[in-house]
């Protein structure tokens, strides 16, 4: 102790003579976790700073994109609602990536909400797709496309797809028909528009790391829906998607 006092004094002395930092020793601490809730009033300056952002945000969340003639919900094995969503992804992916896309896929569990009857706002679409997943295009060999379809047929007991018609039996794909006229060949390559979450190996799809190629233009799936539904709304027709038998269970 004596030595340390002297050291302290020497350091103090050095500080006096050469003007460098005189050290402080950390001697104690106390901790408190403060809850932020209604007990604290909103700071007026910060609220004023945010107000224009919030007003514009509320306006954009409240923007009416289209009108539905009935409430839309996801259903197994197929629903007009999820067919519409994957068809929108297929179309938007071809535009954004400027190349043909053979298949569009969504996680059934990733469709988080339906749409109500009546006005459909941007906020409603945020509820359908709250995640900020990107729409990516993965190029795979036919053999991997089949592995992919079978994986989700088994993983989720359902396939939410666009661009193809599928016949399934005992959670196994029996045949695939492409809307664009291509035929299935395990050695040909095919393009799939999907969530970056799945492309990254989410939903246990880690086999996709062996895909032929993957393109990413940083385009949110939610933005694809918003843009496609807004465009549909301009037609003046209510949104009324139907099942089309693209999934057949034998």
């Amino acid at each position: 102790m004596r030595i340390q006092q002297t050291t302290g004094a020497l350091l103090l002395m050095l500080g006096l003579f050469v003007g460098c930092h005189r050290p402080y020793q950390f001697t104690g601490q106390q901790y408190k976790r403060l809850t932020i809730d209604e007990k604290a009033a909103a700071d007026s300056g910060t609220a004023a700073l945010l107000r224009p952002y919030k007003q514009k945000l509320d306006q954009s969340m409240n923007e009416v994109l289209t009108v539905t003639s009935a409430a839309l919900d996801k259903k197994k094995p197929e629903s007009g609602f999820t067919n519409m969503l994957t068809d929108m992804l297929l179309e938007r992916a071809q535009q954004k990536y400027n190349k043909p896309v053979d298949v569009a896929h969504m996680n059934f569990s990733g469709v988080r909400s339906g749409l109500p009857k009546g006005n459909i706002t941007v906020g409603n679409v945020f509820e359908v797709m709250p995640f900020d997943n990107l729409l990516v295009v993965v190029t795979v060999k036919g053999s991997m496309l089949m592995q992919f379809l079978n994986h989700f047929a088994q993983h989720e007991d359902v396939l939410v797809v666009g661009g193809i018609r599928v016949i399934m039996k005992d959670k196994t794909v029996q045949s695939v028909t492409f809307n664009n006229g291509r035929t299935f060949d395990p050695n040909q390559t095919y393009t799939i528009a999907m969530s970056d979450y799945v492309a990254n190996g989410g939903s246990d799809a880690s086999f996709l790391s062996n895909a032929v190629a993957r393109d990413n233009v940083n385009y949110l799936i939610r933005d694809a829906f918003i843009e496609a539904i807004r465009q549909q709304g301009k037609s003046g027709q209510p949104l009324n998607p139907q099942t089309d038998g693209r999934i057949t269970i034998q």
Partner: protein, 291 residues
């Protein structure tokens, strides 16, 4: 104050009387606020009515009015999670942090979500520095817009603060972080903390590594145990709600404190530190005391 001969014979008490000073410093911190500028809506969900940056501003101002020495830090993932980010790409988040008087932040994985060009644009609006020692932004738009560490001198006490970011590979899409290079956080932390400790009385790491993992992945626990010279780790990424900081012994057997306050600005962490000039020993017990 007297000559060397006189000082050499003084007892600690007389040293204090001779001008040896005590200081207190309040550290306030957030992590993973994720664009949660408004409180959670009153929709009956778990966090309904909690959070809100304007309320946080009020609390911080209150604390600053009671305590003159305050440093306010954020441990990353400022961006992404509410439509504010989708619409404005992070601008109101950064301007609000300016308004609240943040002293420094570090970079979280979701801060890349708008791309590295957007990071430069939005972080460029900050009046506080982004500290990150293990991301090398050479050949990217962010080059020269971060610094590894900063020394704050508060009431005579020197506080060295540095930042650490998480491994981007497999977590952040490559096209979002571009040519940014990730450097080993343990190596960089030891080097940086060692240099800071030579000049500073207290060393803080703002970390976005994550609190703790089952596997060997580097985390705040691993960081604390495998380094020297870090006094406090303000963590993020794992959205861990710690009720109080956790002490982990470092390579020298000294306590390194780890804290993290969940996400979304539901909580503000507050750590009050006491210092005495020239005192021989720091406290042995690194455990935090709730007040």
């Amino acid at each position: 104050m007297g000559s060397a001969a006189v000082i050499g014979s003084l007892t600690p008490d007389t040293l204090l009387a001779a001008g040896k000073k005590a200081a207190t410093l309040t550290i306030l911190h957030t992590n993973d606020v994720h664009s949660r500028l408004d409180p959670f809506p009153m929709d009956g969900s778990r966090n309904a009515g909690k959070g809100g940056v304007a309320r946080r501003a009020t609390l911080i101002r209150q604390i600053r009015s009671e305590q003159k020495n305050v440093l306010l830090f954020d441990a990353g993932d400022i961006f992404q999670g509410t439509p504010y980010f989708n619409l404005y790409k992070g601008e109101p988040e950064i301007l609000a942090m300016n308004q609240l008087g943040y002293d420094a932040g570090t970079i979280g994985n979701h801060d890349f979500d708008g791309g590295i060009d957007n990071m430069k644009t939005q972080f460029g609006k900050a009046k506080f520095p982004f500290l990150i020692a293990n991301y090398d932004f050479k050949n990217t738009p962010m080059d020269g817009h971060t610094q590894p560490h900063k020394i704050f001198t508060v009431d005579g006490v020197k506080v060295g603060v540095f930042g650490l970011g998480i491994q981007p590979d497999g977590l952040i899409p490559k096209n979002l972080y571009g040519d940014m290079k990730y450097l080993d956080p343990l190596e960089i932390a030891n080097q940086t903390a060692g240099e800071l400790k030579k000049k500073c009385d207290y060393v803080i790491c703002l970390s976005h590594l994550g609190y703790k993992y089952n596997e060997a992945t580097v985390s705040d626990h691993v960081l604390a145990a495998k380094t020297r010279n870090i006094d406090l780790i303000i963590g993020g990424h794992t959205h861990t709600f710690l009720e109080a900081p956790v002490a982990v012994n470092n390579l020298d057997g000294k306590a390194t404190l780890i804290n993290q306050v969940g996400f979304a600005g539901i909580y503000l962490g507050r750590i009050d530190l006491s210092f005495e000039q020239g005192k021989g020993h720091s406290v042995k017990d690194g455990k935090a005391v709730s007040v």
